[in-house]
Point group: D2
Chain length 262, copies 4
């Protein structure tokens, strides 16, 4: 049924794919397309894509209004995402849109703005093995998984990961080279559910990995908005609309129209 | 002893004081000065002030480097605070500087950036009574307080307050007109401790209130940095510096200097 | 459809109803029955009741196994709930069963055990007015509510409420007598979602209040288990089942069967 | 200066040391003594020990009243700790006493009661290597540490660790055999600060490890009580002591002395 489907927008920076033949070979239609195909494996997702190169990066008011969950992959061009588009993404997330930040998007503008921290990590590109442990086996994002899953060949991200304490940690990674990382973390910002998921470097075929794709689908399902979307823009509640009567006191009362009135 | 004092910088927007005679009458030296005097009542605080009108708003690299806790009051001119200064305040907070946002500073750029939410409230100016309840009586910010304290005559702020779940709530307000508000909340962002404290409209003499001043001193003491200041800028850990040996696998290894390398 | 209904068990202490004619007049079939009727107003809930007086308090292994969400009302007889039943309730909550503690159940054994704190409050019985503010308007528990709702005539509960920081606060109450209270709070313990909801003294007809009943239905829907129920009992992972090879080192290896082996 | 010293009580179960010659060889004076010696390396700690075999396990009202931070090691005899002593430890923690649970004390009664979860882990005894990463480099518990430290030879604990989301995570462990674990976690319960620290099996000489000892000292310093100790026992605030006047309404008012009155 159309009305109950979850509307997903996969946003890809789409820069490495244009510039790096290795990436183009792995992801000939762009990483965003492969990510979108992985999500679309379940029938109740209605999945679209958008890229940096689209007008307004494909993130117009209309596009966001019709998005339940926005999935974001960026790396080389974080600084090219227009500030007003970032503001728009945040406003829609506060309203309830889910936001899933993938891999190097820890440094994307929307994610950093949602976190309020530096989002720094340590890293190494040595094609090493990663094992992602499920720390929260009852969490809907871990649905269908065993105790862990592995990625044979990947970039390493290491702690300290400079994020606010997550509401919940779903995955922690073990790396062959000796590091660990909080690879699946959730937060809430306004009405919007936020998920960071580490796997996904551009020169490894990680978005073809069946468990990575399962986690993405689980995460989209978890992040879809609750029905309520009420969000305020700082409303005044005048004294005659106050729930209780107020005894106005003294001379220090601000008058509408005075200098400095909000 | 000089070395153990806590270095406080009180930042005031200093706009209402210039434009509104009522505010000038209440705070003839500016609200920032009164706030600073309230903090300086305890001998181990070394308190300075800065305003929007100062070069770089008085928030140069040097000034911030020498600040342990930054106290912020803004309202009419949030949009005039330069973006690069906001970035600088955040970077220093992540390093460990405490940040205390007062009253209408819920909508200040640094606070909104630290929260990642809309920070919306409801409000009313009717000179009504506020009663602040201590929800967390063992918290250092509530040190020396009884079960509650009152402000006879103030602006109302009401829920919903659009913030991420606080780490701890120290105060919840009851208002004569019938609303409630989470008036004292803490978070951590990077190494920096953040405190939001509601009292303080410009047309009421609230920063002369002895309990408000006590809370400010308690909050500054709570928010002072821990000794460690280590913060990362996304360091690479090369394969030959990895803690464990790595078996480099396959052809999908990214080479330094390739297009798209970070 | 039977298979998709949410199985709710409303547990009532059922003591005041037997001993206090005022309570019996208000709740002639017992408070648990009225609470259950309020939840059963939506067709997809399958609601049962149990009381302290039932064998094993009606909380046998079988009963709990068939319960998705347990709603708890207790007051005068907290100490009469058998320890092994409390252990059973906790084990089932960790597995995923939702647990909703009502009003004076802040001091019930299962709730105190789930919190790990004293759960103390302040209180007053003076038939005063309570106004519950929605702090989290997008939360599913607040679905269908306006900014606030009121209870004309109730017992007061005041801060400090000695609970761990809630994951989310849905309601904060304003009381006519001047207090405030975190009246709707959520936590997670294991896989189980926990909700505390303040309204509901025995000598006021609060469980007939349509908004209170709506909140209960919303809360049950929110607290229903996610599909995954995996829970561990401290499994050993032998060395030959470890994901990576281990170089056994030195003499300090514990042997199965030695004294002190777990 | 005596008055400013931190009073530490190290509690050891002291069972393995009596029964297992390997443990006795490593810890001839008992594990509790070695732990206490490690903490006492800094002059401002006043460190005592107590064991299961002492009257009331050495945890009398007087002993706890004079304890700022209680450090707990248990394993084989969790079930032998008297329920009333557990209640006493919790009450004192709520009042402000710090509580540090070591290693197998994840399953100790006081820790499980403070958490409200099953506290289950996975485990393996194979003398493997553990590397503890600092996730929160500005945290006082990590003071003086580098990015990580290692223990050559230890028992493994693996995720999922069934705890409530920690307030902060200080350490995550990497294990040679391929697992990860949240090895240093903080919570607050009432006024008391709680720290869980994983290292420390009885058949490895881990409490002689200089970094483990440094972490213990840092943790004790972090967990010491704030000055305020106010804790409630559910006080009634009578109507004539309410902050605001109350208009008593209707007949449904409970009378002191009626059946069912609290």
């Amino acid at each position: 049924m159309v009305t109950s489907s979850i509307r997903v927008l996969v946003w890809g920076e789409n820069v490495h794919e244009q510039e790096n033949p290795i990436v183009r070979e792995i992801y000939p239609k762009g990483m965003h397309t492969t990510i979108a195909e992985g999500i679309a494996e379940e029938a109740d997702f209605d999945v679209k894509t958008a890229t940096l190169q689209d007008p307004e990066h494909g993130l117009t008011e209309e596009a966001l209004e019709q998005t339940d969950v926005l999935v974001w992959w960026g790396h080389a061009a974080h600084g090219k995402v227009a500030a007003k588009v970032v503001d728009r993404v945040l406003a829609r997330a506060w309203e309830g849109m889910g936001f899933i930040a993938l891999h190097s998007s820890h440094y994307s503008r929307p994610f950093m703005r949602l976190m309020g921290t530096s989002c720094s990590i340590t890293w190494r590109e040595a094609g090493e093995k990663e094992r992602l442990w499920v720390c929260n086996p009852g969490h809907p994002i871990a649905r269908g998984l065993d105790r862990y899953f592995e990625i044979e060949n990947t970039e390493m991200y290491g702690e300290p990961f400079a994020i606010p304490t997550p509401d919940e940690i779903v995955f922690i990674s073990w790396f062959e080279g000796g590091e660990v990382f909080r690879s699946g973390c959730t937060w809430k910002r306004g009405n919007g559910k936020i998920f960071y998921f580490r796997p996904g470097h551009e020169v490894y075929p990680i978005y073809y990995h069946p468990t990575v794709r399962l986690v993405l689908r689980n995460a989209v399902r978890w992040a879809k908005p609750d029905p309520e979307k009420w969000i305020d823009s700082c409303p005044q509640i005048p004294a005659d609309k106050a729930p209780e009567p107020i005894t106005i006191k003294g001379p220090r009362i601000h008058k509408e129209g005075e200098a400095g009135f909000r």
